[in-house]
């Protein structure tokens, strides 16, 4: 049941109140994303072949991980010409069970876990996807929404360079579509070129061979496409679609990164490249969240978008929004597509954006204590901003609701995030709408006050405050804001938001351990046991993007260039302090020195930094396969 003070503000952002818990949950989330890509935003239902009849209860139950592994191992062993005796078949089954099959959400007290899908970055793997045992959070919806218009524009304009199209081609490695994925397609069929898959990644090929083997009565084949039920039972829901992006520039950055990585990683194995893509997605999403916080906080403070944000909004928002107006396809053909993440787009954002949320990250290990402490302070600063953001986010959603009601009354179109505060202020100053607005706010306050988390002290003085603010929409809005603030921040529920941010920064799931994808590592104080860092996979992904970006410009990337790129594009500071930080200069100097040197050592150890000279300026940061 919806609570008076909304915790989840789908009108604004889809981030759930509950973070993704474990790495397996993250993998299920990614499976859901792959499924959204193939179905063009529709949510699939559980497939019959992923269930089995439970003889005891007489009901269907999900296929377990053991059963799925057994089925696939049998298929591998029975491939015509395959040489694998029973002992080897058992070895393969154990490998599938432990490394390939993703366990789903536990149901009841059964000893074996249901199978949620397969850990291969390929559309064919969706044959074994069981959405019934996954609990979708926010990642899949965000990723798909962020790439959705690329798929549409790619089809309209016939451009295969867009990030969404490139990602689809990546997931369809070795597939030749006979009927292509489309928003309302009831079937997608293909043929499989095993040679191509085997050349790229033999492990993936082994699983694919199992999935494309001769079908049995229990388990179909994906040799010519997924079962029709996969598409026919899938459905579109509005709850999983973003209506607008707080920071369109960050989404364009994400698209650009995907384009570059998929353009440059031709000699990298399929699974390895998928890891880089996942890392790129998750970190861009985290940075979108951080930058979006800043945008929303500024919007609430200034009551209008800053100039740079407004420019960015004007340039990209219309073509980024998954749900657009009916005429935009025509506009794309006539005027071009603005969200293709071309080099000029990111250059424009680099130059235009002035709301970078700069944070210091420890590029070393937790043993680099000064850098670790400074990075912990950065995380604590983010936490403080998160508190403001959470209140602002909820209040903005309420403001949108109030504004929509007034707009209906006066016969106008409901304002968007961009102009909601300006419209409210305008109506508050207009004698024709002032009273209506006051009444609406008063109703909101009455409703908000019924939330069980509003402290008694607030309720005690509420009547007096309402009387004093009566007839003044701005004062009533402030009163509503105070109620929201007290209800959210004074309860334990706020820790959920902190966990959410931690999961965003931690690589997709709660950082119970250091995830190589993430920007968070263990080490801190009892209150904040983490600090911001750049873990190995994240570092490689950033290097890949920035090195490929530099290569696209026919320029080399130096070590200092990498540090500058991290700062300018992602607001990640490796050897400097963000403005307004309270750290002492001594601590900063030590932390900066530690972090910078550790970064150099790590890049060197990871084979990403090549030094040609003892001179600090003459070195090259390259990603795999790139020529230095």
């Amino acid at each position: 049941m919806a609570r008076p003070v909304p915790r989840r503000t789908a009108e604004l952002e889809l981030w759930d109140v509950n973070p993704v818990g474990t790495r397996d949950a993250w993998r299920r989330e990614i499976l859901q994303f792959w499924a959204l890509m193939l179905t063009r935003g529709r949510r699939v239902r559980a497939q019959a072949h992923m269930t089995a009849l439970d003889p005891e209860s007489g009901k269907n139950r999900p296929l377990t991980t053991y059963e799925l592994a057994h089925e696939l191992a049998d298929r591998i062993a029975s491939i015509p010409g395959a040489l694998a005796n029973e002992k080897r078949r058992q070895d393969i089954e154990r490998w599938l069970h432990e490394s390939i099959v993703i366990p789903g959400e536990r149901r009841g007290r059964t000893s074996s876990l249901p199978a949620a899908g397969l850990r291969i970055p390929h559309y064919l793997g969706l044959l074994a996807f069981n959405r019934a045992v996954t609990r979708e959070r926010f990642w899949a919806a965000f990723f798909y929404s962020a790439l959705a218009t690329d798929l549409e524009a790619g089809e309209v304009l016939g451009n295969e360079d867009y990030a969404g199209i490139r990602l689809e081609r990546f997931l369809a490695l070795g597939l030749s579509f006979i009927t292509t994925p489309a928003p309302y397609a009831t079937a997608v069929s293909w043929s499989v070129d095993h040679r191509l898959v085997a050349a790229k990644d033999p492990e993936v090929e082994l699983v694919i061979r199992a999935l494309t083997a001769i079908p049995t009565t229990d388990f179909p084949t994906a040799a010519s496409g997924l079962p029709p039920a996969f598409f026919s039972t899938s459905a579109r829901t509005d709850k999983g679609t973003y209506r607008q992006f707080l920071c369109p520039g960050s989404v364009v950055y994400m698209r650009r990164a995907i384009r570059l990585v998929l353009q440059g990683g031709s000699r990298v194995g399929h699974t390895a490249l998928a890891e880089i893509i996942e890392t790129t997605l998750v970190n861009h999403a985290a940075l979108y969240f951080i930058r979006g916080m800043r945008v929303l906080n500024a919007l609430n403070t200034e009551r209008h978008l800053g100039e740079s944000c407004a420019n960015c909004w004007d340039r990209f928002q219309a073509d980024l929004r998954p749900i657009g107006d009916a005429e935009r396809r025509d506009r794309w053909q006539a005027d071009g597509y603005q969200a293709g993440a071309e080099r000029a787009d990111v250059d424009w954002i680099d130059a235009n954006c002035d709301v970078r949320q700069e944070v210091f990250v420890n590029a070393g290990r937790k043993e680099h204590t000064a850098a670790k402490d400074l990075a912990r302070l950065s995380l604590e600063q983010l936490r403080r901003e998160l508190a403001t953001y959470t209140v602002n986010r909820i209040c903005t959603a309420i403001c949108l609701e109030v504004a929509a009601a007034v707009a209906r009354t006066v016969g106008q179109e409901a304002p968007t995030l961009r102009d909601v505060f300006q419209m409210l202020d305008k109506w508050a100053g207009d004698t024709g709408t002032r009273m209506a607005l006051s009444v609406l706010w008063d109703q909101q306050i009455e409703r908000l006050a019924t939330d069980q988390d509003v402290p008694g002290a607030v309720l005690e003085k509420l009547d007096g405050e309402r009387a004093r603010a009566a007839g003044d929409p701005r004062a009533l809005e402030m009163l509503a804001r105070e109620i929201v603030s007290e209800a959210i921040l004074s309860t334990r529920s706020f820790t959920r938001y902190v966990e959410l941010m931690n999961s965003l920064l931690g690589g997709g799931a709660l950082p119970t351990n250091q995830d190589p994808k993430g920007l968070m590592a263990r080490g801190g104080t009892r209150a904040t046991p983490f600090h911001l860092s750049i873990n190995d996979r994240a570092l490689e992904a950033f290097v890949a993007v920035l090195a490929l970006e530099a290569a696209d410009r026919m320029e080399p990337l130096s070590f200092q260039g990498l540090i500058d790129g991290l700062r300018i594009r992602y607001g990640l500071l490796v050897d400097t302090l963000p403005a307004g930080s309270t750290a002492t200069s001594g601590m900063l100097a030590e932390a900066a020195s530690q972090s910078r040197e550790a970064l150099r050592d790590r890049l060197h150890a990871m084979g990403l930094l090549q030094e040609f000279s003892d001179s600090s300026e003459w070195n090259r940061v390259t990603w795999r396969g790139q020529k230095s």
Binding site: R88, S99, A199, E205, T271, G607, F612, S615
Partner: protein, 874 residues
Amino acid sequence: MSTNGPFGPHGIDCHCHSFYTLRDLRLEPQSLDGLAKAVGGAGVNTSIQVATSRMRSVDEGLRQAFAIGVGVLAKRECATSSADVPPVGWRTHARLGFSTAAERWPDDLDPAEWASLFAGTLRPNAAQKSADLGAIGSSTLTNLIRDGHDRDASPYDPGPDTVDLYRVREWSVQETMRVLAISRQRIGGWLDPSEVGVRAIAREIGCHPLELLAFSQHLARCDAGFERPNRVADSVLREYPRGSEGALSRRLAVALTDESELLDVDQTEHDLIDVQDTPLSLPLEVPPAPEDGGPNPLGVVRRLFPGGSGTRGRPPIVYTPTQLETTLLPVLRTGPQTLVVLSGNAGDGKTAFIETALRASGTPVVGGTNEYHILLEGHPYFVVLDGSEDSATRTNDDLLTNAFGRFRGDAPVLPDRGTIIAINKGRLLNFLETHRDEYEFLWRVVTNRFVGGTVLAGHEYVLIDLNDRSVLAPDSTSSIFAGIARRLGEWDAWERECRKCDAIDVCPARFNAMALRSPRVREQMWKTLAAADLDDRVHVTVRHIVTKLATSVVGDARCPDVRSQARSGRTFLPSNFLYTSLFATRSGDAHAEAAAMDRIVAAYDPTEQGAPRRDRQVAYLVLRGALQEVLGQAGETPDLAGLKAQSWAIASSSIDEEPPAGEPEYRLRVLDLVRHASRRMYLLEPDHPLAPADPVATMDDFIRIGRGDADDQLLLTRLIASLNATLGIEPGRFQELLAPRDYSEGLRGTGFAAMVPRSRFALAPANALGNEYEERPYLEAWPRALRLAARDVDGVVVAAIALPLLMFEVIDRAGRGFRPTSQTERSYIVRLNGFYRRLAEHAWLEQPTYALYERGQVRARATIQPDLIAFAEA
């Protein structure tokens, strides 16, 4: 142009150093003649400036005489400028009114330090101490300072009769003040009767040296309360009690400058003013004489300590010509003038080479001067000591434009003037990049050499990166290290000076130096230092070797302390001897570079390698008092006494005894002694059956691969087996390298690991940066790492990793069943992670087979191809 050194206070327009000649120095005729001959040229008419530049090669006694004379001369009013004397504060490096680098002090010594050195020259020698007072008075200054050391002589004491003889109690105030002035200013305290410098002072103020000595002693005795002062001494001591030497010295300096201003004591307080702090700077480095008057060779060697004056430019005693001097310099002398660029780290020898080039052209090295125009056998060269330096008069860009201007254009040139320049690579690259269009060809040459690591053909320019040089290459007999060690061991002062010292037979420093004469000892030291050189944690420079050898030989010893300890009969600790001091790390060392070197060398201490059986055998002998079994038949050497004393002490005690307060317990003492004995065997008697093994077993293989005379395939097979062993695979089981996707997890869990065939790998020598090694002309060099590279069938490098010696050793040990234990060893294993990731995640054009592993065991070998899926026994 300003003046430098002692004439500094004369002001920026002073040219006194070129105006005054040797003749103007108030020296003894013998000293003057000696100096005139030594400096050559115009003899006594040689200017102070020229004489200063030639002073390095002059006999030490004459140098001291020269120093004193110049110091006195500099007190005079400036003869060449009427400009006001600028005020100069003590301990200031940038003097007021002197803003450019060239106008600063020619080195890092500040005026106070110069003054200290100056004072140090006024020390007695042994002959003087044993001579009677009459002999002092008639001796020449040179003789007073240099000759006749007698270690047995006790400090001279004129005695109370002498004081009475010269009736010092009747001295006038003026006489007293003059003596005080000299005493304070030159010596910094009451005149010590043993100071022979009193003769010079006495001569300067016109009294008899004996008077001066007598008065000084009287004053000191009064000050100490042993004698009752007369009226004059009383008033002086009241006015200038102990502790006010500094103020007194400065105030009396004024009195000295003008005889007419000699003061009455009553007026002193009002008439004396604080004057400028006249820096008593000298253009020479004068080793301090020891306080006991004995010989002081260690004082000279200590100049080679970290931060010492001997570590800048060409070092004394141990200067060893390198290929730069032996091959490049002749080319510059005979060939057409060209461009020579020297780059490298501090201490690599850039300045030393340039100094040699300057000497070869007959050009004196002038402190603080950065640019020279020289002629090398008729070939003009513009020489820049530091191409990265800024000056107030012109920008660095101007300097570089001057240096490189003749090499503009898009083709090589044969200029009318060559350039020899030492410059930071980054600065050079930046300059050329900024002016890339102007210096098109030079830009290509420099980037090819310093960035790409290749040499562009078709030009005669010489680009030297001293980072590529190894002071340990190629071996223990012909490396720069060998030259330095040999020269230090064979320094003549170990004979000439030490023969005059009564501690010669027990002195640990001399023992250490004598040990250096042995090629076997040098070879053992070379092994240790070569390991450090091939360790990628430090770039070993010439300066590193010089300071390391000097500190290892001398340690903390000072000649007077050695003599004092020898007289007392106390034995010297084993830590004073080379075999232990080589591995010592000095705490509180302000020189980070040297400290880093110490730490790395300490990591190669042979006793740190676990050899339980050998250690037990040595300990058994030590505990039984049978130390001779361990120490061999080398005869009675100075270190044996200390070792034996420790051994006997241990043998006569027991593990059950409570150690004395502050003393280590029994077991620690045993371990300590075993270590000393083991190190001694390693360094001095490496063939002893109980001598520890070399700390790096693979060094020979490593060097052989670098030289190209090893069986690469055999070593590659061994390396792959060792790498597989780090994953728990028994050596020899697979010919291929197993590459799991996550090397840090090893073969935990279950998954497929690519089995990359040996034919895909190549092992090649590499430089310190991990790039392919190339021979460089004019440099002693060797590969500092091995480069293991994997290539796909199309030749694309899939992954490459540089293996420095220690990493090679760690991997090899893994093949022998050892697991990395130390932090450093583990960090090397972490480095492999990136290499393995690239191997495992590469889309190979020619599919490798795969190992299906499960919980550390390889279950099957898998072939996964479109037309064949096969699982076979591993």
